[in-house]
């Protein structure tokens, strides 16, 4: 009866003792999530399907974050539709501007997802919650609309790829570098339809914020979900955020995996993913001379407090290059406030950057920092597809907060270590 964490969670939610890869199951979901892009369609589907009342008004979460604060009239109308629905259905977890943050940073912060939960969201980065030991995956608006009504959905049980990380991280190497390296190794469809299970001693030692970053980008390898085994660190994170306890599932030692890959952290440098695919990861020492026009630190991938602390550590007492625009986006109002208390915002502003309200904004080319034709950005975001941050002829390079901050100062993509040389030259 050996099973992986993902299989155990799916089994528990479908009333079975065991499920096997490829099996089609119907399962109860603990939470559904939609944003200002996907909720309008989901709501339309909900009504078209004859929906009158959501299955549970506490478990249908809506967060307007993509184009909020409303970037134009059309965006405002989409948010109005969500707001109307949320009021009518008396949703307790609809987060309006002021409370609103980037959904995948906000839900864990509010204690809405716990270990062992099954979550679907009409957003591909819903897989972020795998960091908490939950099974979480992205779906389209139709599937979400149906689940908002029934509290259930169907799944094909995925096979699991086990990714084992060992060793100590080199300096300035974060969860972002590890996941970019992994996607570079697997390819953008290397885990298509599969679960990615992150484990090994280096993962046990990894901070929650880095775990969120890694699970967040599982979709960039095509995966259905990314998952960590919940441990003491997870429990310390969720404690005090929820009245529920959650349930910890562990993979059996002899569980079946489609594949097992091992990574030695001693060999992994900070990574940069070149346009136009997240799999184009290169070690920072092999980047060459890449000048940049913009640097963005934020998103559901890297807009957490720990990310901002790292950026501030790099930027403190320094000024960004004249040729660079630096945009920093704390992912939630709480993160914003903490960053203010810790003096991080001051460091950013003194360095010549600007701090935005929480929003997905430029990550998906929505607003707050769109690129012109031929412009190039380094960003802590998750996708570097053609036209992702603006003009189809612009470019996005993906990296960690440390590398992005250092690059803003250098005016080109480069390592944190290059900053000390910069001083000497001056």
């Amino acid at each position: 009866m050996s099973q992986t964490i993902s299989e155990k969670i799916l089994a528990a939610h479908s009333g079975r003792k065991k499920v096997y890869p490829g099996q089609l199951i119907e399962a109860k979901v603990d939470l559904t999530l939609a944003n200002d892009v996907t909720a309008p369609l989901a709501i339309e589907m909900f009504y078209q399907a004859g929906g009158k009342k959501v299955f549970n008004r506490h478990k249908v979460v809506m967060v307007p974050d993509h184009f909020v604060p409303n970037k134009d009239i059309a965006a405002a109308e989409q948010c109005r539709l969500m707001r109307q629905f949320a009021r009518e259905q008396k949703l307790t977890n609809f987060f309006e501007l002021g409370e609103m943050g980037i959904e995948h940073a906000l839900l864990p912060e509010k204690g809405l997802v716990l270990p062992g939960d099954l979550v679907i969201g009409a957003d591909s980065h819903t897989c972020t919650y795998g960091a908490l030991g939950a099974f979480a995956t992205g779906v389209g608006s139709t599937d979400l609309g149906a689940a908002m009504l029934s509290g259930r959905t169907w799944f094909k049980v995925p096979e699991t790829i086990k990714l084992v990380y060992r060793g100590k991280p080199r300096s300035w190497v974060s969860g972002k570098d590890l996941i970019l390296y992994t996607i570079g190794d697997l390819g953008v469809d290397g885990a298509r339809y599969q679960a990615m299970e992150f484990c090994g001693p280096a993962m046990t030692a990894l901070a929650m914020s880095d775990r969120f970053t890694m699970a967040n980008m599982a979709i960039e390898a095509g995966a259905k979900n990314g998952i960590f085994e919940a441990d003491e660190m997870t429990l310390a994170y969720v404690r005090g955020r929820s009245s529920r306890l959650g349930k910890i599932y562990r993979s059996d030692p002899d569980a079946d995996y489609k594949e097992i890959r091992e990574y030695d952290l001693a060999k992994i440098e900070p990574q940069v993913a070149f346009p136009h695919l997240p799999e184009n990861a290169k070690s920072i020492s092999k980047v060459g001379k890449v000048l940049i026009d913009q640097a963005v630190i934020g998103s559901c991938t890297n807009g957490r407090l720990e990310d901002l602390r790292i950026a501030a550590r790099v930027l403190k007492g320094r000024t960004i290059a004249k040729t660079v625009r630096l945009i920093i986006i704390p992912a939630t109002p709480w993160i914003y406030q903490q960053a203010m208390k810790e003096g991080l915002l001051e460091i950013f502003l003194q360095a010549g950057g600007i701090v935005s309200a929480p929003t997905c904004g430029p990550c998906l080319g929505g607003h707050m920092g769109i690129l012109a034709k031929g412009e190039r950005a380094i960003a802590t975001t998750n996708r570097n597809f053609v036209g992702r941050m603006g003009h189809p002829n612009s470019e996005v390079y993906l990296a960690s907060p440390a590398i992005t901050a250092a690059s803003a100062v250098l005016g080109r993509i480069g390592p944190v270590e290059a900053l000390s040389e910069l001083k000497k030259k001056k």
Partner: protein, 166 residues
Amino acid sequence: MKFSGRVWKFGDHIDTDVIIPARYLTTSDHKELGRHCMEDADPDFVKKIGKGDIIVAGRNFGSGSSREHAPIAIKAAGISCVIAESFARIFYRNAFNMGLPIFESAEAAAQINQGDQLQVEADTGMIEDRTQKKRFRAEPIPDFMQELIKDGGLVAHLKKSQAKGH
């Protein structure tokens, strides 16, 4: 169900940002989304295609975001079906839910050329390249899925089934 049309060929990893850029996601209007289909891969795509034409692409078509606006845009642009070596997971599910027929065939994706004239049969999964006089096989689309496609997607299909009383 049969689909026939001219081929528009694309490469691997055509992502949903290319299929429908996020700057157009402030609407769910099908016609408006259709007007911008594949714009960042080929700005004149919508002007050039004819009704019923077919997209043929490589690996991992529809990767990236969960936006259902992607299959909606393809369908609204007038594309009758998509053939690819493989599809990204969320897109695969969304396509059927939106009533867009899709077919997986590595051989067809590799050998069919831009501009070829195709006929595709949902019942048998037969893809006939009339220009090259070649045939390829994809997985057939089962009857219930064809009904769903005919009705215009999952929700429309459910409504129709409910109205019929079964």
